[in-house]
């Protein structure tokens, strides 16, 4: 395949050097803007994209973003789904930190939560690959494998008519990413770093999906607290394009994300 496309790669590079579309196209109409598709599989960025952007601002010790292991025997499926998302984000952090043992530990926890959610058979093989890549320090392959694992779990849930849990996995992962990254920006404030936190489209999409959950799911204690925190977080994420949030705003955002993640991971009585 790549041999076949080697000339294409050169051609692409050439075209890019020679041509640059100067944004001459007509603006989108209001109908096009409001009618744009919004999908979990393409509109919501993976944690790896957020981390790639952050890594460009300077060297970051990702081991400082690790958290203590969470319990994995939740009796509430919505809570398990939220935490599965968080654990997958933990996996990305461990990969960025290039800590093989941490990756393997998280892989085991992901498998345990997948069992709670009834999708472990879709994850078993992936978990084994993850462990093997971690042992061999194959970090790029690990990122690909983790992304595939997340998507396979979501696909399995959609097939099992558990679309609500897909929403919760996405929200849990996004919150954990925001917790880690806002924590870093708060501790090493720069306007450039703070502007990375601007994600109005994502937070409004996720909040809309949370509000559309069936009442039974919405009333789960972990989902209730998530909805409350996400509504508060929206204010700090949806700042104007030309304005960076202040150091205090970033600290406040980080506090909200920490509280949300803490509440989500706490086993319900």
């Amino acid at each position: 395949m790549f041999l076949k496309h080697r000339p294409l790669a050169s051609c692409l590079a050439f075209v890019c050097l020679c041509a640059s579309a100067a944004g001459q196209a007509a603006p989108l109409t209001p109908a096009e803007l409001s009618g744009a598709a919004l999908t979990d599989s393409l509109s919501i960025p993976m944690p790896g994209e957020f981390m790639a952007a952050l890594n460009k601002l300077g060297k970051l010790d990702w081991t400082t973003k690790f958290r203590l292991p969470i319990v994995t025997n939740y009796s509430s499926r919505p809570q398990a789904a939220l935490n599965l998302g968080g654990l997958i984000a933990d996996g990305y952090i461990a990969i960025e930190a290039e800590d093989g043992q941490q990756v393997k530990n998280i892989g085991k926890d992901v498998l345990a939560l997948a069992k709670v959610l009834g999708v472990s058979k879709d994850v078993v093989e992936r978990a084994s690959s993850i462990a093997s890549f971690a042992e061999n320090s194959q970090w790029d392959q690990l990122k690909e494998e983790l992304e595939s694992t997340q998507n396979e779990v979501k696909t399995a849930m959609t097939e099992a008519k558990d679309q609500d849990l897909v929403t919760l996995i996405t929200v849990g992962g996004w919150l954990r990413g925001v917790e880690a990254i806002s924590g870093h920006v708060a501790g090493n404030y720069s306007e450039l770093g703070a502007k990375l936190l601007r994600q109005p489209g994502i937070v409004s999409f996720l909040n809309k999906n949370l509000e559309a959950l069936p009442e039974k799911v919405r009333e789960d204690a972990s989902v209730k607290i998530t909805r409350k925190k996400m509504a508060e977080i929206e204010k700090f994420i949806a700042f104007p394009l030309d304005k960076a949030p202040s150091a205090d705003d970033v600290k406040q955002l980080n506090k909200l994300a920490i509280e949300a993640i803490k509440e989500i991971s706490k086993k319900q009585k």
Partner: protein, 142 residues
């Protein structure tokens, strides 16, 4: 890489379980993945996700994406031979077209874009020449 492409293809096939992917969608996806594979030689990572549908002249399709300042992106649109010429355009959240590095060849088009600000953007895919055809949009980043 081979592993990723295989995995992407499998995930893509399974990503719309409530609606089986048509042969044309599978072909469009394969085309997009092959072209995007060329970007990985330059360090771009393929996002494991896609958007599929049917595009025809005069009926462009738009999707919202969320991008981070500092990253570079390639949006790759694959289709089938029925689509003779395609176009990918990136817009900011107000709907203004952004400057992109364009690529266009028969049933494939791509746009390279480096956002200056993090936030929501819109990607429009359109057919310039040809008849109604299945499409698949994917993106890569670094």
């Amino acid at each position: 890489m081979k592993r990723l492409l295989l995995s992407l293809a499998c995930a893509a096939l399974a990503s719309a379980p409530l609606r089986a992917a048509s042969d044309d969608e599978v072909a469009a996806r394969r085309t997009a993945l092959e072209v995007a594979g060329a970007f990985t030689n330059d360090g771009f990572k393929l996002r494991d996700g896609n958007w599929t549908g049917v595009v025809e002249i005069g009926k462009p399709m738009v999707i919202q994406v969320n991008l981070y300042a500092g990253n570079q992106y390639w949006f790759t649109l694959g289709s089938v031979p029925a689509a003779k010429k395609l176009l990918v355009t990136v817009y900011d959240e107000t709907g203004q077209a952004m400057e992109v590095d364009p690529y266009q060849e028969a049933s494939v088009a791509a746009a390279g874009f480096s956002p200056q600000a993090s936030g929501s953007y819109y990607v429009k895919v359109e057919e310039i020449e040809g008849t109604a055809a299945a499409f698949c949009l994917i993106y890569s980043y670094k």
